[in-house]
Amino acid sequence: MHDVVTFSNVSKRFGQATLALDDVSLRVPRGQTTVLLGLSGSGKSTLLRHVDGLQRATAGTVTVLGTDLATVSGTRLRALRRRVGFVFQQFHLVGTLTVLENVCTGALGALRGPRLGLATYPKHVRHEALRHLDRVGLAEQAFQRADTLSGGQQQRVAIARALLQRPEVLLADEPVASLDPESAGQVMRLLREISTEQDLTVLCSLHQVDLALSWGDRVVGLRSGRVVLDRETAGLDRGEAMAVYSAVATVPAAA
């Protein structure tokens, strides 16, 4: 199988003191769903942000869809980002714009020039955006301001925005950590369905071990920026996964 994302001995340092990623090596084949587990501050977000070139490695190489991110130029980086969708914990919608315009912003990478207002997006983009909005069940809210929606609804809009990019890779950084259990269930179901339908390569960080085991093909555990677990979920024991969360590496999980 062809590798879509490759990390080779990647380290990321913030300032002198913090080592956010410590010699991480990882290969993600096409179509695989990889769940990242780990405590807050263990490097999950930093790892995901490296895949989209939002952060650059201090050492080592990151290759995404055949592009080496260390040397990539501005234009080619933007072209690559179009093929990679990103769903954030805090949704990151533009609150004062309508829901439909927020979805349309997913097409900015494919369009040229600045866009101000819904009417400045081409019709075909708006039609496609509405279709994705319908897919996430929010077509009726198309013309509301995004900041009037609930958290779960905003996250579904963010998913529609990512879909408009027609991505090959989907990154999700704790997509349900800010949501109540019911909205969280809805959003997770949506992410699972979409990744199957569109055969996406998914990298998703989560806090729920059970969810990780039932959804993911593979679990990667991080602690202090190091990969401490990297296994297929088939046959993986819940206790082994929980061990990622224990503060000291040598103490076996009590779960």
Binding site: D52, R81, R82, H92, T96, L108, Q165
Partner: protein, 539 residues
């Protein structure tokens, strides 16, 4: 060995920086008292001028309004110049702010360079720019638009940069993650977040520029100010005061209108009903029709202003060709053999500003307190004093100065009293606002102990608002020093007289010297204010 509790001090030991700050504030107050005495502002002067009031009223009434067509023409020109100037400064401020804000700047050089340009724009008074531009482009509108437009960048650019620095970076990151370019990131990830602040700042500056336009009339910029200056020059007070009254009405109307727009911007529009299936543009609800209507009216007003201000690109470029020659006239700085006079006038300007700040604070503190809803004895009293403050804010300082020049004669007293009264408009509002912003739970706690209204005011309301008061008074001093340099243009004392005089007799080297002196003074005040804010913040 620790001392027994009963022997310890019951008042804390004074802290170093706290003492320093108190000393400076007291020194400024003392300087204000001294300056007021030195300028001859005392009960006798005030009684003397009071006796002039009847005399002045006689010369002023009946007000002589020009015929309605002429009145509309003058008001139209003034509004056109002010709107065009504000638009120009917004257009210049947006890129300046993007370069100056730490989160959007391409690099440190661009950031510091842009910050420096913004500070420079604020430091050069608009009236000085107007004097220069009138040499370049001739009498009329263009000089006024450019002068106010460039000077306003000092305020608008700074506030825009602050707004950009305060955005939520999330949406911008999301837009970037989708492959957007730098410009798209700004227009989609940043602009929608800062738009309300941008509009509100522009409206605020529009109010200020409307007042300033009167002053620019005295150096030859077209409109109501020009007509007022002409009337006063001919000692036609009936006409002059009538036009000043028109400016007052325009200022109050502008204040009300921009207040309404700002309040409307603060509210999200109601969500539209469920749209028809497959619709890709928002339905035309009443609220959308209304908003579109307002936007169209605003656009029409702006277009009409650009047309009304008669900004001819040809005139602009031919003037621009002479800019080098004209600027050459202003260099090198010359003293014209009157350096001691200039320094004495500058010193008088400082005294005017200090005395006016003191008197203004004395007037503004009680008026501001009575205008605060949580302090005033009844809501009606609060409303009356709020109204008074808005009314005073509406009167351009220059009109006040002209009135006081007539009442007290030419000189520093007129300038001081004009600025002191004018200070009520700004300082009174700031005092009232900061009193209303105090935590009312603290007030409730104190009154629950059985304290009287005065005790609550003294021990719960004032201590909470006091740090803000100090900042407001310093800000007023800063504003007054800038204004005091200009009021001399109408004969209200200080260095402004020499500014006007030198430009009238074409001694542009002297204009430059005056400008450098004023600039140095403003910088000194800025540094003192900066230091005080840092010291006060450390406590």
């Amino acid at each position: 060995m620790t001392r027994p509790v009963l022997d310890r001090r019951t008042v804390p030991a004074p802290s170093g920086p706290g003492v320093a700050a108190s000393v400076v504030v007291l020194a400024i107050l003392g300087a204000g008292v001294w300056a007021a005495g030195d300028l001859g502002i005392n009960i006798a002067t005030l009684v003397d001028s009071a006796s002039n009031v009847a005399d002045f009223a006689q010369r002023m009434f009946p007000l002589d309004f020009p015929e309605i067509g002429e009145l509309l023409r003058l008001s139209g020109i003034t509004l056109a110049i002010v709107i065009s100037a504000t638009l120009l400064s917004v257009l210049l401020s947006v890129p300046a702010a993007v370069l100056a804000a730490s989160n959007t700047t391409p690099g440190n050089t661009a950031r510091l360079g842009s910050r420096a340009l913004i500070v420079l724009a604020r430091a050069v008074p608009d009236v000085v720019l107007a004097i220069v531009f009138i040499r370049v482009f001739g009498l009329g509108s263009m000089a006024g638009v450019l002068a106010m437009g460039l000077h306003s960048v000092g305020m608008i650019g700074k506030l825009y940069a602050d707004a950009v620095e305060q955005i939520d970076e999330g949406p911008r990151t999301a837009v970037r993650a989708g492959g957007a370019g730098r410009l798209q990131e700004l227009t989609t990830g940043v602009l929608p977040q800062v738009l309300p602040a941008f509009v509100s700042t522009a409206l605020h500056r529009f109010d200020i520029n409307l007042r300033v336009s009167v002053l620019l009339g005295f150096v030859g910029v077209d409109g109501l100010g020009f007509a007022i200056a002409g009337a006063f020059r001919e000692l036609d007070y009936q006409r002059g005061m009538a036009l000043a009254f028109v400016v007052l009405v325009l200022c109050v109307l502008a204040e009300l209108l921009s207040g309404a727009v700002r309040r409307a911007l603060a509210h999200a529009p109601p969500s539209p009903p469920r749209p028809a299936r497959g619709r890709i543009s928002p339905p035309w609800t009443g609220s959308r029709v209304r908003r579109t209507g307002y936007a169209l009216v605003a656009a029409l007003v702006v277009v009409a202003s650009l047309w009304g201000a008669e900004l001819s690109p040809a005139g602009f470029f031919s003037g621009l060709g002479q800019l080098g020659t004209t600027l050459g006239l202003f260099w090198p700085p010359e003293t014209g053999g009157i350096l001691p006079d200039l320094l004495a006038a500058l010193w008088q300007t400082v005294k005017i500003a200090l005395a006016a700040t003191l008197l203004g604070a004395v007037l503004a503190l009680p008026i501001g307190a009575l205008a605060a809803r949580n302090v005033a004895p009844s809501p009606r009293v609060a409303a009356v004093f709020r109204g008074l403050i808005v009314l005073i804010r509406g009167v351009p300082e220059l009109v006040l100065a002209v009135v006081f020049v007539v009442l007290t004669g030419l000189g520093a007293v007129a300038g001081t009293l004009a600025l002191a009264v004018g200070a009520v408009g700004l300082l009174g509002k700031l005092v009232a606002d900061s009193l209303e912003e105090v935590d009312e739970r603290v007030e409730n706690a104190v009154s629950a102990t059985g304290a009287s209204r005065w005790q609550v005011f003294a021990s719960a309301t004032v201590p909470q608002a006091a740090p803000a008061f100090v900042g407001h008074v310093l800000y007023q001093l800063d504003v007054n020093i800038r204004s005091a340099t200009l009021l001399g243009i109408v004969g209200a004392g200080g260095i402004g007289f020499y500014l006007q005089n030198a430009s009238r007799v074409l001694e542009f080297g002297v204009v430059t010297t005056v400008l450098l002196l004023v600039f140095a003074l403003a910088m000194v005040v800025e540094l003192i204010a900066l230091w005080l804010r840092r010291v006060a913040g450390r406590r």
